[in-house]
Symmetry: C2
Subunit: 199 residues, 2 copies
Amino acid sequence: MKYPEAIQQLIESFMRFPGVGKKTAERYAFYVVNHFDETDTVTFMEALHRVQNEINPCEICGNLTDKDVCDICNDQTRDRRKILVVEESKDVMVIEKTNMFDGLYHVLNGAISPSDGVGPDDLRIKALLERLKDETHQEVILAMNLSEEGETTAMYLHRILKDTDLLVTRIAYGLPAGGNISYADDMTLLKALEGRKKY
Amino acid sequence: MKYPEAIQQLIESFMRFPGVGKKTAERYAFYVVNHFDETDTVTFMEALHRVQNEINPCEICGNLTDKDVCDICNDQTRDRRKILVVEESKDVMVIEKTNMFDGLYHVLNGAISPSDGVGPDDLRIKALLERLKDETHQEVILAMNLSEEGETTAMYLHRILKDTDLLVTRIAYGLPAGGNISYADDMTLLKALEGRKKY
């Protein structure tokens, strides 16, 4: 006894998502069956179709956009001297939400990870170096994740940029807001200690 | 600054699902953007479309099917004397997977829940009574969930069936396999005690 084929196909589509196992995929599929009306389904299908067809990386910074050049790169009021480099397009949104950075971005599309076979050439590093030839840009802020891959990527970028006239900085790492020292992992504590400042 | 409209629409579709908040919906949407190719997206859309158009409740038992009458009701080798009553179509699949029941099913499509405004008339109870007029059926096995709603529904069904010639039984409730008494909730313990048998 198996599910009707259409339900099975939907379960398998949901199982493709990160962190979604069989049980969750079944729950989602049955939610569609039981709670989605025609309009809900059409809206969902349309969103999938549009994302597939309209969304592409910004020609300049690699941020996801439905235009050739994203709104941030196009915004002439932003401080073009600073370029903040992140691993993923999603990181741009996270930082934008804080309203605390008014410069430009560069999305690498990942981080260097030899074990996953991701080297510098698989990332948008060449595009970054190309951009940096424009002398308007004066500071490169490295905002990689605090992980082995993030560290490797930051080190790599620092090495190839350190002999230029650019100011290369890195965001601070340490104990997060609400963070409890007892529960912090070694990497966070190490960074918190390394980054200590005179009181 | 907002996501491109297509991504926003996809995030909102994902947020409709049970247990999916904004963060998870964003993760799913970005997974589509970054990892779904044309074929993946088309397969997903097709599954949604098919589920919307092909899947309906079985005319007899209410189990979800892509036919008028489901494979179980159509299977002449099954023991038609027994009807196992469940809340949801999903429960049918769970029991079928065990290969331990060879009778028929009846899906109520929920359980009585006055606080949610679900009364007996909102469930497929009338259809059950109609089915039971066929004297082939001799036993009704109540397999509601162990919850207030499940209890209410089982009591209700027992009350309207108890004066018929049908044998009305109920699945056992108690400590589950691997269950630890120290961590069991009151309802489970109550049922485990109530259901105790001579050793």
